[in-house]
Amino acid sequence: MPHILDRLDNGRLEATSNEWRSQFSRHKNQLIPSEYERILAWAAGCVDYEGPACESFAYGVYENGAGHAIAISEVVYSKSGRKWLKLLDLHLCPAVDLSFYNDELDIMGLSSIFAAAIVGTFHLTKRHPTDTVKLYGRSGTLLTFLKGIGAYIERQGGLPGLKVGIEGRWLVIRGAAA
């Protein structure tokens, strides 16, 4: 895939902040800068990946080795009780957000970003050990989107060694042995 999910270290966070600010400053009449500033501020506080108390993390989706993230995912990991990793949200950069609005959507590019966020979350279970990943359907449209993903995977015969299904507002992926 041309996109990968990876950490936001300080250098990447700065590059991402600079790039996003550059994008939304060019389109102030079409975007709300404070929305992106809020996301960037939140992300800056969620990059302590080794902190023992941290359960909420920001990860970047990067395109072809770019220094800045094209999207930032919001991941939560439960450290006590039943362990799971949840992908709560995916914040797209201003330019991609604007492509929805301007009817210039690149469906394949968008698919690659989302797929990288999902598969990247699977790989994060190396760092945050669990046999369960959950994707949240925050809105009705997003839940429909997640249901479509689950249905397609089922029609393809599933994912090797995994069970995939909708539980409430979540698309849940579990190890088949779970």
Partner: protein, 56 residues
């Protein structure tokens, strides 16, 4: 004895390319199936909100 369950990463190890391909196709198909509703995805709301703000 180690009673930790296998992680998702462990389970898909060796099948990464297959998993990536299926997930990518699933995302593309589901996005396409949304049709006009794709513009209602949560992520597009910041631009829509800006328009509403400008009109207020």
């Amino acid at each position: 004895m180690n009673h930790e369950p296998q992680t998702i990463a462990d389970v898909i190890s060796g099948h990464e390319a297959e998993v990536e391909a299926i997930v990518h196709d699933a995302v593309a198909k589901s996005l396409a199936d949304l049709g006009a509703d794709i513009y209602k995805l949560e992520w597009a709301n910041k631009a829509v909100a800006a328009e509403a703000l400008a009109a207020a």
